[in-house]
Symmetry: C2
Subunit: 255 residues, 2 copies
Amino acid sequence: MRNLKVMMAFRGTHYHGFQRQPNAVTVQETVETALSKLLNESVTIQGCSRTDTGVHARQFCFSMQTGNPIPARNFIRGACGYLPEDISILSVEDVPPEFHARFSCKAKQYMYRIHNSESKNPFTTDLELHYRRRLDVSLIREAASHFLGTHDFAAFCTGASKQKNTVRTIYDIRIEQQEHSVVIFIKGNGFLYNMVRILVGTLLSVNEGRIALDELDLLLRSRDRLRAGITAQPHGLSLYRLFYEDIECPEQIHL
Amino acid sequence: MRNLKVMMAFRGTHYHGFQRQPNAVTVQETVETALSKLLNESVTIQGCSRTDTGVHARQFCFSMQTGNPIPARNFIRGACGYLPEDISILSVEDVPPEFHARFSCKAKQYMYRIHNSESKNPFTTDLELHYRRRLDVSLIREAASHFLGTHDFAAFCTGASKQKNTVRTIYDIRIEQQEHSVVIFIKGNGFLYNMVRILVGTLLSVNEGRIALDELDLLLRSRDRLRAGITAQPHGLSLYRLFYEDIECPEQIHL
């Protein structure tokens, strides 16, 4: 049996997230159906992460087992014929049997894109949050620095009471101004349910003066979801980069 | 009567081009309908250019006359409410009565985007040509240099025989490698029907060895459409930048 590490990218707009579920179209189900046809066997894939409805992945990893000797190039080309236009296989490689897309993943980086202008951007309608009020990039950079390091992020999690452990480590937050867009990159060892979207919503609350910089440490310590900002809309969010064995995966799709 | 210069951007995927026509949805008709509602009067707009079905505009200018004293900011915000998500007004300004979006335009720059990879890019399905064969950027740069300057471009025009004058000047061709994309920028004083798409199709023919570099000058002089490459698909093409009075228009939407 081969154990494969497969990198893909998907536009999440028309999916109810990655994870297979009854009565909803998901990325997992769509990929499994396509690969089952390509390989002529029943395929089950193990994803690196769950994703919310409407969230995208510039880089997503799944592992899978197959007895089919198909070469990587034929796998990519063949899958392209069975998959819809919003899901793309980027690379396929044979890996040791102990590799698992989720459990072997050491860190993840998310990207949240905000189109910050009075006018809409017709090319990124489902890829960027449209935010009309001027974003004060230095202010939200300073706010973001409070989240760096290891904290209990219960205040930044939907349904934290159901979680055993709400402590996570954020390694890096980078905020870039790109033409009319502000792009937030957040890298950490793991993320709670809705955590990135609530962090972004909180940065927007800071921008709007509804949360002050000196409240942020208290907010973290409070573990109180109600004190943080709203859950920012999903369509601005993409899983951006995965780290296995401390090595960045090179395959990635850019906007 | 006010004469307005309005900058907009549109994603051309769902339109039969800019120019109003019977029995087809066009950008012009959609904008005129929206602005007639906003301004509560019948609005006719003069576009800077025709565009083909599926072609986009990162920057497009139209002029229009109105007696309505609406301020620019309200015009932009109000139009946003009446326009679909794939058309966006970027700026509005009062200009002298002699300004005309088409006749006052001194030069135009087009952008043609090619996603050059074995894998599809799910984020640019309708914004980039997917081209799997490796593009030799230095080769097509050298080929493109043959088109610079003033030439009779009849070989690069659909229906050249119906045109009075097929001489145009190309000021600049820039070809950039951006991650997995190759992006071609072409600036000229005017463009014939399908000219940019045929120029790009010819560069692809050179890349594939079907047209040699030393045939290009002869090809231009032949005025024979059948000797040039195919008309590259429309969805990779965008009107990118307009030049009025030798000044670049600053308002533009980036991918």
